[in-house]
Amino acid sequence: MPRRLRWLTPYLFLLPGGLWLTAFFVLPMLVMASISLQEGSLSSGYRLTWNFPIYAEVITEWTTQFVRSIWYAAAVTVLTLLIGYPMAYTIAFRGGRFKNILLLLVILPFFTAFIIRTLSWKLILSDNGFVLGTLKDVGILEPAFRVLATPVAVIGGLTYNFLPFMVLPLYVALEKIDRHLIEAGSDLYASRRQTFLRVTLPLSMPGVFAGSLLVFIPAIGDFINADLLGSRETTMIGNIIQRLFVQTNAYPEAAALSFVLMAAVLVLVALYARFVGAEELTRG
């Protein structure tokens, strides 16, 4: 390449990714923004009227579902962290020869489609299925007890579906920790607990950060778990958007709602990054 054009090189490298992002992210976002500001209907057509008040309308009408989705997603993140951290720790530090097999087991559910896995949970948790039914027959549970159609079922389903997204980044972060640092900790008279809290945990924060993002962001917009495992009281914002778009054909509202959700997630993630200290994370 002639010297004059060397400066082009980084841009050429960015070109495939950039084009992909532009075509499949930027342009659809612009179209959606345009749709959200339109008014009209299927038969009379849509007109761009710069209808900004729709954002306020949409936020006030669906506040409950927004807040509920944020709560659920936060709960799911915390739960996957609590369950996933010991898993990742065990695989990284105690896995030994079985590391690969254990990792495979973690990923194995992904070989089945998301919906099928959630449907199977519906079967497992069904009122008189082999789990609850047996417990009811034995007498531990009363006959009217149910898990399906409660927030517990929805959060449980979400936790199950997103657990691998937490385990894998955590595993990577924990794997990378230099074992000598941990040795150094005990050399300096730290107990096992102290070593964990002051050496391992801080060093694994990049994994915690990445895992949390990978779980929180999709979980907040999920609608399948709420649809299959929940009831009308567990409706999440994803369900609302889906219903507005597909059933009511209220495209401007659905588009506006999607943008509000995106904005909310961006704000929350920014706050989280500030709290966890993202600059330090990127420093190797």
């Binding site: 179209v31 409950t64 069904s126 009831s231 009308r232 409706t235 009511t248 054909n249 209220a250």
Partner: protein, 442 residues
């Protein structure tokens, strides 16, 4: 001419003017994506489908914004391929239908479709993609509005959706010269319906009644009234439909209002009745087709249901469940076969449509799925099959067939007590939907 260092060009700070130009270009882009809605009919000309890189100002006829800015918009210059110009079938058919709506044998094959292929040489790609009228409509609507092929040649939609699609211009008119068996065998009750006068765009596939299904072993008593759905005794074990029309219309009937004449105040009252029950957790959930599994498994004691499903359930999944038309009235619906605009194989679609009006094929369908048939002569044929079964010693199947022959066509009692859906304008539809969404989503 001095050579300008390209790097310097890039490093120059962006002036205010440039920023303004960039902003303006983006605004034009956004506006261009939205300049739409001149005409509701998706009749794209050769220059239709503005690409997003040019700020389009020429009136693009695509009605919805989804067509607008999509850089991949491929406007097909569809003049509706008039079937009479292409008399020979293409040999391939993409058929979208509801689940449980065709006969299946034990190995999972479709014997009637195989028969069709053997007779006509047209191979059928059968897709049970339709779970809900609105959901499927929402799926194909963007393509239809943009004039793009949907990937389906033949679809089955309920009457009120057909009415809507006709109004929006999404359907191909039928060529009745290709439908001789329909002309010969169709029942009068189903000809020239309210939603498609003259059967220009659709012919009936199957028909049924929306009523109530219940499991007497779980309810402990017989059910005859729609209000039993609201009985606190069945709290948490009652089901309603996510289909707005079925649920709201049945509720309106239970309050003495005919859906066709219902005013907005009456609909609001019906919504209040449902909302009050939903808020005290009377309903386990709102269901589409999946109410079938819940009812068969015993999760539901009583629910809104479709007549033919319960016939099937009694035969195959749960013999206890019963279907009843509420005293205050049920809804009579007709599912119709339609051809969407831009279908790739319309002749094959016509062949399939006509195939279902042959008495033998219609009988095979009815014997399996148990819904009302629009084809005359089926009830007699079913009785003949019952006799054959009895001669062969299969008493059980013979008895079942005799029951089916009774339910192949609605009885006079039932016809007295069923109603049809109202024709709603876009605004009314929106209002009804918003009201109903409050019931099913908190």
């Amino acid at each position: 001419m001095t050579e300008v260092d390209a790097r310097e060009l890039l490093d120059r700070p962006t002036s205010g003017l440039r920023r303004l130009v960039a902003l303006g270009a983006t605004m034009l882009l956004v506006a261009g994506c939205g300049i739409a809605g001149q005409s509701p009919t998706p009749a794209p000309t050769g220059t239709a489908g503005p690409t997003a890189t040019v700020a389009p100002t020429s009136g693009s006829p695509s009605p919805t914004a989804t067509a607008g800015g999509s850089p991949t918009a491929a406007p097909s210059p569809t003049q509706a391929p008039s079937p009479t110009e292409q008399p020979s079938p293409a040999g391939q058919l993409d058929f979208a239908n509801w689940p449980l709506y065709i006969d299946i044998d034990d190995s999972g094959a479709y014997p009637t479709l195989d028969k069709f292929t053997a007779e006509t040489g047209i191979s059928v790609r059968y897709l049970e993609d339709i779970n809900d009228n609105e959901e499927f409509f929402g799926l194909v609507q963007p393509d239809l509005a943009a004039g793009n092929p949907t990937g389906y040649d033949l679809m089955v939609f309920t009457d009120w959706t057909v009415e809507r699609m006709i109004r929006l211009g999404y359907l191909e008119p039928l060529d009745h010269s290709l439908l001789p068996t329909f002309a010969a065998n169709a029942q009068e009750l189903y000809l020239d319906p309210w939603y498609d006068p003259g059967n220009v765009y659709s012919i009936p596939y199957q028909s049924g009644i929306t009523g109530i299904a219940y499991n007497p072993t779980l309810t402990g008593r017989e059910i005859t009234s729609f209000d039993d759905l609201f009985d606190p005794e069945f709290a948490g074990r009652a089901g309603i439909f996510s289909e707005m029309r079925d649920t709201l219309c049945l509720t309106l009937l239970s309050m003495g209002v005919e859906p066709v004449t219902a005013t907005i105040e009456q609909v609001q009252a019906a919504q209040q009745k449902l909302l009050e029950a939903a808020q005290r957790n009377q309903f386990r959930s709102d269901y589409g087709n999946d109410y079938y599994d819940a009812l068969a498994a015993g999760d539901l004691a009583i629910t809104i249901a479709w007549s033919g499903d319960i016939s099937q359930m009694q035969l195959y999944d749960n013999a206890d469940v019963r279907f009843v038309v509420p005293e205050t009235g049920g809804m009579l619906w007709v599912d119709n076969m339609v051809i969407p605009k831009g279908a790739a194989h319309p002749i094959d679609a016509h062949a399939m449509m006509d195939f279902w009006y042959d008495v033998e094929n219609a009988t095979a369908l009815t014997e399996y799925i148990g819904y009302f048939t629009p084809v005359s002569g089926v009830a007699e044929q079913v009785l003949e099959d019952a006799q054959t079964a009895r001669d062969e010693g299969d008493e059980e199947w013979a008895a079942q067939l005799e029951v089916i022959s009774q339910t192949a066509f609605p009885s006079n009692d039932q016809l007295q007590n069923v109603y049809t859906y109202p024709q709603l304008t876009e605004e009314e539809e929106r209002t009804w939907n918003d009201l109903f969404n409050e019931v099913i989503a908190d």
